[in-house]
């Protein structure tokens, strides 16, 4: 039997309230400061590097995102590391704080479904991150204009917009995860710690563990090692395993979109790139094609985690 009325009734009210809470919160201010300051440092380094070496690069603006100057990683790498922190910071107490403040039963006694509360909160979190990332994106383009003095071309804008969209989905994965944990754990501190644990595991430990596991599955062949090459089987397994981490998916998608010369993300045989003009940029559409599987992976991960949280929340008891 269908339930009466719309599941979306009240989403707007929840969204507006949560968005204004998010934006005016001290927590958000701190996260934004952290991200903006780190990103600015990375950008500054990138700009200095680019100004010393203004070779003929048709995609100067995109270089701002990807150039890394020791000791700082590139702007994109920093975002890949910090976006999860921001999403976790916004999401780890979405639901359990309502429980703990004892507001949940009062709000759910209003004529709305639980869907509206969950969706409104999630969308508000995502909107907050989108606003921050868009501001950051505009900042990069603005600084690029001021310090490099090169107006961005249409394709550069398109590629950097693709970066923005993929980054939002990447944030969506972590926001879904944080929200799921906020439903599972009644204590916000536990939810935050578990979320941060998963984040550290996937960003720091997993890239080290994946090759080790791959070598256990396919031991390196000494004949390849003698030639100074990776064993193909091991390399393929390593990449496969690494792709379980959203960070890796984000990194690969960024590589394809922001470095137009990227032709492939995995190991290839020489005969597969016969006839390719090495170093020549791909058209935008082709780059998006390369990044597409990774993007779909991120979107799918977001949806799966959100649905898991949704199902749990629908079945959860309201009373504290």
């Amino acid at each position: 039997m269908r339930r009466e009325g719309s599941a979306f009734q009240g989403v707007g009210a929840v969204f507006v309230k949560e968005l204004s809470d998010n934006i005016s919160s001290v927590r958000m201010l701190m996260l934004e400061l952290l991200i903006v300051l780190t990103a600015m440092a990375a950008l500054y380094e990138a700009i200095t590097a680019l100004r010393q070496n203004t070779a003929e690069d048709p995609f100067l603006l995109l270089r701002l995102f990807t150039v890394s100057q020791a000791p700082l990683p590139s702007f994109v790498a920093i975002l890949g590391f910090l976006i999860p922190l921001m999403a976790i910071g916004l999401g780890f107490d979405l639901i359990n704080s309502e429980h703990n403040r004892r507001t949940l039963s009062r709000i759910l006694a209003q004529p709305i479904y639980r869907d509206a509360l969950l969706l409104g909160k999630y969308l508000a979190g995502l909107a907050t991150i989108t606003i921050s990332l868009t501001a950051l994106w505009l900042l990069v383009i603005g600084l690029g204009l001021i310090f490099l003095g090169v107006p961005p071309g249409g394709e550069e804008i398109a590629r950097s917009l693709a970066f923005l969209v993929i980054a939002v989905f990447y944030a969506g994965v972590w926001l879904s995860l944080a929200m799921l944990l906020s439903i599972v754990f009644r204590s916000p501190a536990t939810a935050a710690l578990v979320a941060l644990g998963i984040w550290l595991f996937l960003t720091v430990l997993w890239p080290m563990l994946a090759p080790a596991i791959a070598q256990a599955i396919v031991p390196p062949d000494p004949r390849f090692a003698a030639l100074g090459l990776d064993t193909p089987g091991t390399a393929i397994w390593t990449q496969l395993l690494q792709r379980f981490s959203p960070n890796d998916l984000f990194g690969e998608a960024m590589l394809a979109v922001l470095s137009p010369t990227t032709r492939t993300l995995g190991p290839v045989f020489l005969d597969q790139i016969r006839g390719a003009v090495m170093g020549a940029p791909l058209p935008f559409g082709q780059s998006v094609m390369i990044a597409w599987p990774q993007t779909v992976g991120l979107i799918a991960c977001t949806i799966v985690l959100f649905v898991a949280g949704y199902v749990l929340f629908q079945r959860q008891e309201v009373r504290a």
Partner: protein, 328 residues
């Protein structure tokens, strides 16, 4: 038993809440076990019982906030499990230890709830101002709720129900943790709601307060309604009599004459000149006549209204959990 059925048959006609064999199970334990009750329009109905007896679970089932394991319930003619929005549009709920968003002001908290109710901007501000006036929170309307006392929060919760213009107000432990002054104020507000024709369902373990406002009560025990009715009815059922009259008078044969009054159950002689009688009605006038007729000197005549506390204590002490079903 027959009286119980009689009461529910009389109210079924205009019942706004009707529960039939309402059951909630967690795993294999029944938290609420096949309860039946009707609540008439405009009455104040009290759910009484120790903590964990199933009162809050019953309330959550009425609101569609928790699933019903078995049985049926109808709230204003709607099924809360299937038409929760219709029910929640018409029923106001004040949860046990209600919470608000501490960083928002009283008005902002109410405005959020009112938005969820689907009220327009103008209507919202009009109703909120009116509701805050009624619960006497208008002067702190723009203060953050973080600074509010427990009593103020409870009143703010009631304001939310007033903003909703609810036909039924469900109040879960509304006065627990309030100081006596705040309790009295809150009970007055409940009476005001009743005067407006709002049906009130309240749960509590504070018996004397329930007695002061409730028309009828249901005693919960281990997930079952063990006994239900007005306080006077309950006292007849549990204590065997509704009224306890104490007489202090001198004179010969007064005890005998008092016992002869129709409706008097028994007469206890407390002292030479003090008698306590239990009766099923207020027999003070007859007692006075009896004393005067015996040429006695009447010094004091007092009536103890049946106290819910006495009923409750007597009932739960007298009846072990196994025997509850029979008693009901």
């Amino acid at each position: 038993m027959s009286e119980l059925q009689h009461t529910s048959a009389a109210t079924r006609r205009d019942a706004v809440i009707a529960a039939r064999d309402l059951t909630k199970r967690y795993g294999r334990t029944s938290v609420v076990d096949a309860i039946n009750f009707d609540i008439a329009k405009g009455e104040v109905f009290g759910l009484l019982g120790p903590n964990g007896a199933g009162k809050t679970t019953t309330i959550l089932m009425l609101l569609g906030l928790t699933e019903i394991s078995a049985g049926r319930v109808s709230v204003l003619g709607f099924d809360p499990a299937r038409q929760p929005l219709q029910v929640k549009r018409r029923v106001g709920y004040l949860p046990d230890a209600v919470g608000f968003y501490d960083h928002l002001t009283a008005v902002e908290n109410l405005a959020y709830a009112a938005k969820l109710m689907g009220l327009g901007v103008a209507e919202r501000s009009r109703r909120i101002a009116a509701a805050l006036t009624r619960v006497r929170l208008l002067d702190v309307a723009d203060k953050r709720v973080a600074t509010f006392s427990r009593g103020m929060r409870q009143r703010l919760g009631l304001a939310e129900i007033i903003v909703k213009r609810a036909e039924i107000a469900i109040l879960d432990e509304p006065t627990s943790g309030l100081d006596p002054q705040a309790t009295i104020e809150f009970l007055d507000l409940i009476r005001e709601l009743k005067a407006e024709g709002v049906t009130v369902l309240l749960s509590s373990h504070m018996l004397d307060q329930v007695q002061r406002v409730c028309d009828r009560v249901a005693l919960f025990r281990a997930g079952k309604i063990s006994i239900m009715g007005s306080v006077a009815e309950l006292s007849v059922k549990v204590l065997g009599a509704g009224f306890v009259v104490e007489v202090e008078a001198d004179g010969a044969g007064i005890a005998r004459r008092l016992a002869a009054i129709p409706g008097v159950g028994n007469v206890e002689t407390l002292a030479e000149d003090r008698f306590r009688m239990t009766a099923d009605r207020d027999v003070r006038a007859d007692a006075a006549r009896a004393v005067v007729a015996a040429n006695g000197a009447l010094r004091r005549l007092s009536v103890d209204e049946p106290s819910l506390e006495a009923i409750y204590a007597h009932y739960f002490q007298a009846t072990p959990p196994g025997g509850v079903r029979d008693a009901a």
